[in-house]
Symmetry: C2
Amino acid sequence: MYYIGVDFGGMSIKGGLVNEQGRIVFKCVVPTKPNGSSDSIADDLARLIDTVIKNSSADKLQIGAIGIGFPGTTDAKNGIIRYAANVNFKDYPIVSAINERLSCNLPILISNDANCAALGEAMYGQKKVDNAIFVTLGTGVGTGIIIDGKVFEGFNSMGAEGGHIRLKTGGALCGCGNKGCYEAYASASALIKQTKLAVKKHSGSILAEVSQTEGFTGKTAFIAARKNCPVALALINKYTKYVGDGMISLLNLFGSEYIIVGGGISREGDYFIKPLEEYINRYKYGHDFYPKTKVMAASLYNDAGIIGAAELYKSQSK
Amino acid sequence: MYYIGVDFGGMSIKGGLVNEQGRIVFKCVVPTKPNGSSDSIADDLARLIDTVIKNSSADKLQIGAIGIGFPGTTDAKNGIIRYAANVNFKDYPIVSAINERLSCNLPILISNDANCAALGEAMYGQKKVDNAIFVTLGTGVGTGIIIDGKVFEGFNSMGAEGGHIRLKTGGALCGCGNKGCYEAYASASALIKQTKLAVKKHSGSILAEVSQTEGFTGKTAFIAARKNCPVALALINKYTKYVGDGMISLLNLFGSEYIIVGGGISREGDYFIKPLEEYINRYKYGHDFYPKTKVMAASLYNDAGIIGAAELYKSQSK
């Protein structure tokens, strides 16, 4: 059996056909219309899914279900997009809209994009784990909670918005309009801001030098740290604490054994993942009697969303 | 059918017989031995339960199960107390210890005390609700999450420790040894600390005057606020934001419609519960498209733990 997974992003819609082992056997992509009406975006989405279906029937592959991950707030139970970031969906019944456009009679499941990526990484990432907290550090901070091999949606799918838990009450302004959110301290964008500030303050540092050739990205501080720049090392140390403190909050509530970190920064093993794991195990609640938490880097990268969305249907039957 | 509920506290062990409507029909209490061995405390606990059983059989009442709430970390699935605050239990198999001491063949369930109180308040408090976040403000901050009428334990019962999520990274020292925990800002003890500081800073205020006659309790600031003391009003305003910010983090993750507030402070309706509800609905993530969150005061007070523990067995079959 094969499953269709769609990763709906602000820039592109990616659809894939995924086999029972979580491997993508066919993939296609169309750009997202940023100013399109909800209905016209649904048209594009349905057409993309239809392409995947046609491709599979040419190969006589049997499809079990369709899963779609959206950026924003989805009401999984009722198949409605409550709100989507950068796309014109507001209380839009996406599942019935696609059903109207396709006549395939396949079950269609939806979830948040970070939830899908979390499911993909937990099932087919570095290690198969049934209980994990997924935290992806990008423009924002996306989180997904996997409990017993299923996505934790929270009441009416209003949960698992870990990027907006408070890290510092009254602190830095977040894109969501509130102050002190985890995302405002721990996203890759926040690290870039912190890097810029450090360069401004320490214009003679190796970090400042590196920024002149490399520019300001999530990697800048790590490149300088590898050159033993004390400014960069201190900056990363502080950033790691921010990331770790938010993960500790999530651990206190969900108690998972595994944390999976996504985003480009997750590839900075010795300079990031390792000290992060040490920090969490030293400062989490109950660190003296709970088992150690294992922190792993995500490994499916950009495919996690497709693979996880394709897995939604199977995970429901667990 | 009747159910036995036990609220195991650092000072006393309270046992009750609870009917199907969540009413306690018989109750008894023994003091907790602070320095007793695990086995001798289990003796006391078993004897207390036996007293409740004998009392019920005298009245020919049928008992369905026993539930016990402990302060600390309980492994509900395996019937083990991992760690208990102020009591000598460490990885102690309490369920088998009680089974050995009683020969009643009743199912015995355990959970954390705040989880039990949460379940009691959600089922039999101001309003019956199947999805709620319970936050009790006392010496610490205890939290319990009710999802679909059941206690949310987290992976291996290591979850729902909301008192120790981060509210202010690197901030005030918490009793748990970490910095910036929710409990260090939002507990009644934290409010008392904040009141003392305000009195020190504003020795001529009405608040300072009130503290001389009333001493320093969780009520001091509210008494002064009712006399229109601007220092007390500002203090409560800040405290309400602390309490609200932690609740917003919990809401972002669990997405519940209801928050139930326990502890003496929860009785300060117009000066606390009402502005707290306003704050949360104004600043929670998705406030512009999610339904309003209702904040309610707990209403079972000291009986919530017994009633909730008695409910554990019934809730499992939901």
